[in-house]
Amino acid sequence: MSQRVNLDLKNELFLYGAKEWNQCFQCGNCTATCHTTENDFFFPRKTVRQVLMGLKKSLQTNIDPWLCTYCGDCSTTCPRDANPAEMMMSIRRYLISVYDWTGISKLFYKSKALEIAVIFLLAIAVMILYLFFTTFPSGDNSQWIGPDGGALINKIAPWKRIHFGDWIMAGILIFLIITNVFYMWYKIILEDKSIKIGFIDYFRPVSALPKLFNPEKKYARCDEKKLTVYWILHLFLALSYATLFTIIVFFLEWFQTDSVYPIFHPQRLLGYIATVGLFVGIIYFYTNRTIKNLENSKYSHFTDWTFLILLFLTTLTGILLHFFRIYGMPQLVYITYLIHLMVLVPMLMVEVPFSKWSHMIYRPFSLYFAHLKKMAIKKQKIISDEYSQQN
């Protein structure tokens, strides 16, 4: 079935931050430069081509953008300044919006205003709930301060209630993510009629799982000199983020305590390390995006910024909250906690399923799917070879 070409897709992608690349004259330089491209999945040229020709169907079922590590070599050597690398990112954003069945992320990507508005609304909602469920430390300070000098945070904002909120939020998020991943699976695997993947095949790559879930490893193949720092920090950031996320959502009871533990207590240690991870990471990426020294930080979509900023605020308030607690300042604890939540919740609600954050889920899965596809293709090759040998 022949597809119809369509100029509008390209123009639509401009909203997702694509830059000038219509001038690509298809020399294939980018694909040849690319360190991650392999014979079954070669990009960026082929993907660029799909966009230029407006082959929506092929593009939506295309897995390649997720395999790209944005080392930027293709853009620097491109003879037509078409910077394919940034385009792969734009397509990622596009694909995120494709996988998101609710269609909300599309709206977010297309209008900055809407995204910010939603963030504010959520913040206000959080505030209302907070005021409703917590108690302001009024009156005599001593009753709000514990024996070891720390503010009794659970008296102000009992972890059970926060936790309850967390669970609701986590529930929603996990539901959205899972459904989106399923949709992604549908798009990438099912709609690709060229390959067949049996039920059992899905469990074959288990051996390869650790490899799959450490996507940064692929950076190593890229030009080390300029990117090792980058991908180490990126990994560090991602891990710290994951830790804090899990702790807060699932082990808040253990994390949010009235008694102040000694500095080497795992609770505090873990918290500190993770915080440092986040902080350093954020600062690093922030400066990158401002001074644009690396190819992969030359262009920034506004969603990139919102994510960074929200994350930064969250961390900052988190840190303040911590110190106010251990140095026993209940009122400040109350307020910072409020602000902390007012930033944290929108960030999670907006970014996790609908925006930048979600690549943390999609990328590993895409690698997993790519792995499946590769196996399938290999299998087919073998079969077809046998077939050709037979006759």
Partner: protein
């Protein structure tokens, strides 16, 4: 016949020859050969004192033939011929023995080398015996020039010559000057107005005192060949708007131009059946009219451009037409300016943006909101068909896109076919008229594809512009001027020198078998019916001598390379070794 007095001069060339060849011995030995009056050796024959020796000896000993044994004739033959001339001897009474490049420099054994040198000199002496004085033949040149074709090439050539104050006859088949270029709206790559450029030229031509323009003109046949005469003096009769004029001229410039490929030949594209499939020629008209609308008067929402129509494909024309790619890019820009919202699909095979500023135009164009697609210009060409009724567009192009490997369909309200260039149908006739030949693609053949792209094998006839091969305007113009340069040079000199070492027919011996005519590459030999012999046109003859070796009766002799000369050269060459050889024979027996 006057007695032959030969002077032999052997050059040392410093040590170059003397090292390997016993020069003194040779010069003594040569003294003994028949007819050798004087034999000398000197350090540098080529140097001025060396030449003086020759000049003086000629005067002193009344020498009438000279042999110099030195370096390659390709280096110094002309030098020594000049020396002979200064001494008042005919330059062709001279022969050179190459004992440097062919002897002293390439051999290691002194005796052998000397022996070889002896043979070569002896050969030269034997040959020079039979040399005869040849006179340079000069033909006057008529300062007028005939230019066939009033396209951009013809006009440029005409202006170039006429501005030098020389008469030009410009004959044009149609009723107006300007040819294809006059039908163009803008020129690539800088999108300048073709009209403003060409109108100025046409006006100048029409009002030029030195140019007489004949419109609706054709050359009238006159005993078979339409343009008779030889380089420097041609004549013909032309018929223009009914009346006949007789013209005399010294040079001919052929600038008959091109004809666009007939797109109907490519069935896939349905040109002629589908109203909204137009050729680039039609589209230029549309552009000039100012409004781009389909045949049914709608503003096209999608326009597709297909390249290489009739070019680069063995079924039509194997060659590339050179201009289509850039013209297409030009169209894209013009359409975008007139209809900013229209979608444009440019379907090409290789984007040939090679001229100055062309690649730049390509990248400017590609920054516009349009789509480049690639197809295979050889097999399974795109298929254009009427779109179904409910479709919002008029035509549908289906083909396999080369870069993505996808089979795709392209919507279009209008399809522009970039038709290639072809030689005119009457190219063969014209070639016959002016006595030049066609190549396989029915374009005119130039004398040398690299070093002489405007001259033809017939002296005084030049081919310029798209009748020689597909070209864009700048290339045509510079070619036209190149031809003008040749013409002007010959006019300025006022005479053309004609090859001296030509062939000539001994009419007593000629049996009229006409073998020579069949082998001559320059149609220089013709058969005269009345005296039943072949006659050589010494102005066309280049003296290759093929005819004389083909002649069964030996009637044709090619001057300065006569059988006698070469045979005696062989004998002379062998004389020495022959005697030596006989000795061996005797020893053996």
């Amino acid at each position: 016949m006057e007695e032959k007095r030969i002077g032999v001069y052997i050059c040392w060339c410093g040590t170059n020859i003397a090292n390997m060849v016993d020069v003194e011995a040779l010069s003594k030995e040569m003294q003994s050969l028949p007819n050798v009056v004087i034999s000398k050796d000197y350090k540098y024959m080529c140097s001025d004192p060396g030449q003086d020796i020759i000049v003086n000896d000629i005067k002193e000993y009344k020498l009438n033939r000279i042999v110099v044994a030195a370096c390659s004739p390709r280096m110094h033959e002309i030098t020594f011929r000049k020396a002979l001339e200064t001494a008042g001897l005919n330059p062709y009474m001279f022969e050179m023995a190459n004992i440097r490049e062919h002897a002293s420099w390439v051999h290691t054994d002194r005796n052998e080398t000397t022996g070889k040198a002896r043979d070569l000199i002896a050969a030269a002496i034997a040959r020079v015996q039979w040399h005869e004085s040849l006179e340079k033949r000069i033909a006057g040149v008529n300062p007028a020039t005939l230019i066939i074709g009033g396209g951009i090439s013809g006009i440029s050539a005409a202006l170039e010559i006429a501005n030098a104050g020389k008469q030009v006859y410009l004959i044009e088949k149609s009723g107006t000057l300007g040819g294809i270029a006059a039908g163009i709206d803008l020129t690539y790559p800088f999108l300048n107005s073709a009209k403003q450029m060409i109108d100025h030229k046409i006006n100048t031509v029409m009002n030029h005192p030195m140019i007489s323009v004949y419109l609706n003109a054709e050359v009238k046949p006159e005993f078979g060949k339409k343009i008779v005469g030889l380089v420097g003096n041609f004549e013909t009769t032309i018929k223009s708007n009914g009346e006949e004029t007789k013209l005399n001229f010294g040079n001919v410039i052929v600038a008959t131009g091109l004809k666009p490929f007939d797109a109907q030949k490519v069935i896939n594209y349905g040109y002629g059946k589908l109203p909204n499939v137009v050729t680039s020629v039609d589209f230029e008209k549309i552009l000039k009219s100012g409004v781009i609308i389909t045949r049914d008067g709608r503003v096209p929402k999608d326009i597709a451009i297909i390249h290489c129509v009739g070019s680069r494909n063995e079924n039509y024309n194997a060659y590339c037409s050179r201009t289509c790619c850039m013209t297409a890019l030009k169209y894209v820009n013009q359409i975008k300016s007139a209809l900013p919202k229209t979608n444009i699909y440019d379907i090409y095979s290789d984007m040939r943006a090679f001229g100055k500023g062309s690649e730049e135009l390509y990248s400017i164009t590609s920054r516009k909101n349009m789509m480049f697609l690639t197809f295979d210009h050889k097999e399974n060409l795109p298929q254009i068909k009427q779109a179904s009724y409910e479709d919002p567009f008029n035509l549908l192009i289906e083909f396999k896109e080369k870069f993505s490997g996808e089979s795709i369909e392209v919507p279009a309200d209008m399809v522009i076919l970039m038709v290639g260039m072809e030689a005119h149908d009457d190219a063969k006739q014209i070639a016959h008229d002016v006595g030049i030949s066609l190549c396989g693609n029915r374009f005119f053949i130039e004398r040398h594809p690299k070093l002489d792209p405007v001259a033809t094998t017939t002296d005084g006839v030049y081919v310029v512009g798209t009748c020689q091969s597909p070209k864009d305007i700048p290339d045509s113009v510079s070619q036209a001027r190149a031809a003008a340069a040749r013409v002007l040079a010959s006019i300025l000199v006022g005479k053309v020198e004609v090859e001296v070492t030509t062939a000539s027919v001994n009419e007593e011996v000629c049996c009229g078998c006409q073998t020579c005519i069949s082998v001559c590459p320059y149609t220089a030999i013709s058969y005269s019916v009345e005296d039943k012999v072949s006659k050589v046109n010494e102005i066309l003859c280049k003296g290759c001598g093929t005819c004389s070796s083909a002649c069964p009766t030996g009637a044709i002799r090619s001057k300065h390379f006569t059988d006698q000369q070469i045979l005696s050269q062989i004998e002379g060459m062998m004389s020495a070794s022959k005697s030596k050889k006989n000795l061996i024979e005797i020893e053996e027996t």
